[in-house]
């Protein structure tokens, strides 16, 4: 019974595919994998926007949206109607084709990443051998569309925002990929499905997730910091820093195209969270061995919500970084830590199992963290800022 509930969507798909002529079977099979993704994640996006606004409100001791529907739960519908009915303004001197293509490409690129995310046992749209590589490759397409948006708008703020976005995304892509390479090294495969399968065992009641190793934990933290920067979320949301750049690369976008950018940002956030879950948190695997009766897809989406809540919490807490702080952090802290972590993962692989391995690898992660942190803070006086006129 548990098995049936776990595999219900897979069984359903096979049953539906069995009813069509053999010639169109592959196409129908693919469609049945793709359409749920395209329907489900935008719905989640709608849910997350209202969750985020309510969560941020609570962090600031407000209610958040509470007028549309019970407790404001229908707010995204109102927002959707609003953006759909808004006028679509294209600047007179903009490159109109590129201006139109940029949000479409961005949404398409972020959707492509979902192809390799296993959202449940046997539930992956494309089980590729080079799944992780594919994910990061299509993830890099977002940079292109961001620059298309910035360039085609013919607006200095758009262009500056796009340049910042490119600089930030390229800088943080390095630690992002380096920190995920540790998992690839440990798993010995690039396929997301086998990475999850390798983490699905249990010792006692505890799972074999990569996050429960020194290098895995460090890699996870590095991955999440880089993922925050990749998805342009606060505190790394400089590309759209409204105080200096109005809205960055989407200054000149209005109506539904703006909504598409917004959608792509949240889809990117969800897909990269999904990748973090796949790489470090055991994908769809249950966190404790006696909880395996709960369907695998519920575990995946539960973890996803946990990550989204984390993103919202971070957004409600940290102020935006300055450009030089952002770059310093990427190249002087994230990159060395990621490289050291890579070595740690190798040491872990070749040391015999035991307490010594734990001690050595933990030291290899913690010592550079402390030292790099010290060096980072060197010459920086952290004190309460006083303002000449405010006192």
């Amino acid at each position: 019974m548990t098995e049936t509930i776990d595999q219900i969507f897979v069984i359903l798909k096979h049953w539906l595919v069995g009813h069509v002529p053999t010639a169109v079977e592959p196409i129908v099979s693919e469609l049945l994998s793709v359409v749920p993704i395209i329907l489900l994640f935008p719905l989640l996006f709608a849910l997350i926007t209202v969750m985020e606004r309510k969560g941020l409100g609570r962090i600031q001791n407000r209610y958040g949206p509470n007028r549309v529907g019970p407790c404001g739960i229908l707010q995204p519908i109102a927002d959707g109607i609003k953006t759909l009915t808004k006028e679509n303004i294209v600047p007179h001197s903009a490159d109109k084709v590129v201006h139109l293509l940029a949000p479409l490409l961005l949404v398409m690129a972020t959707f492509l990443g979902y192809a390799v995310l296993p959202v449940g046992r046997n539930m992956v749209a494309a089980n590729m051998d080079a799944g992780v590589l594919f994910f990061f490759a299509v993830g890099s397409m977002t940079e292109l569309s961001v620059f298309m948006a910035g360039w085609s708008s013919r607006n200095k703020y758009s262009l500056l925002g796009a340049m910042r976005a490119i600089a930030q995304m390229i800088s943080y892509e390095v630690p992002l990929i380096l920190s995920s390479v540790t998992v690839i090294m440990a798993a010995g495969t690039l396929s997301t499905v086998s990475i999850v399968e390798q983490q699905s065992g249990y010792t006692g009641i505890f799972p074999h997730w990569f996050v429960f190793t020194p290098w895995g934990f460090a890699g996870f933290v590095l991955f999440m910091i880089a993922a925050t920067a990749e998805s342009n979320r606060s505190p790394f949301d400089l590309p759209e820093g409204e105080s200096e750049l109005i809205a960055g690369y989407y200054t000149e976008y209005s109506g539904f195209k703006f909504a598409l950018f917004f959608l792509a940002e949240y889809l990117g956030m969800m897909s990269i969270s999904g990748m973090a879950i796949t790489l470090f948190l055991g994908g769809w695997a249950a966190p404790l061995s006696f909880l395996t009766w709960i369907p695998s897809y519920l575990w995946f989406f539960g973890k996803l919500f946990f990550f989204i809540a984390g993103f919202i919490w971070i957004r409600g807490t940290l102020p935006r970084l300055r450009m030089d702080q952002l770059m310093n952090f990427a190249w002087k802290f994230m990159l060395p830590m990621a490289l050291i972590n890579l070595v740690t993962a190798g040491v872990w692989r070749f040391m015999p199992t035991g307490i010594l391995r734990w001690l050595v690898c933990s030291a290899m992660v913690v010592a550079p963290y402390v030292l790099l942190g010290r060096g980072f803070m060197l010459g920086k006086r952290l004190e309460k800022r006083t303002y000449r006129f405010a006192d």
């Binding site: 609570r58 962090i59 407000r62 919490w313 807490t317 940290l318 402390v370 942190g373 803070m377």
Partner: protein, 203 residues
Amino acid sequence: MLGEGIVRGLAETARNFLGSFVSKERLTTVQFPEERLPQAEAARDFPFLVYDGEDWQAGMRCVACQICEKECPPKCIFIEKSKDKKPDALGRAQFYPARFDIDVSVCMSCQICVEVCPFEAIKMDTAFELSTDDRFGGLLWDRQKLALSDAHYHAIHPTDAAHTDELLAAEKAKAEARTKAAVAKASPAPMPQPPAPAAANEP
């Protein structure tokens, strides 16, 4: 150590997040249409015309002197003086506004009309939920819409209204004294002062 401040910040926001569910005092937002804060007594937005008694047409204090129309900086008042006269609150025959329109979309709530009115006939209202789907007609208020009772004025601005009543009572007493003097003047005794300046003083 690096990251210490971030952890402390996260703890702070978590405390606020959870606290907002526990204690109502944290949530300072007033849920407007259901909950309302009391308005300050000096609150004002658009002018209205005060009338005494029950009938707004009979009791209207305005005598269509058009001072407010001339003084209004954005020129949002339009007055048409009546051809005939009718008795005012003091029983004297006065003109009355045949038409008194205020375009509230133009009005800037400066209260100059109130300051210049010699008859205490125009005052500032406090009603603020005035949205309408008719952009032009709905915001051009005629004299019937503008007429509000003296009781309403007492209700929204008690202190000011009491002061206004004092002024009007003094005015009335003065007028009565003058009537008496006029009656006395009918007898041969010489008048203490010429009537013209008094008339000028009298609004």
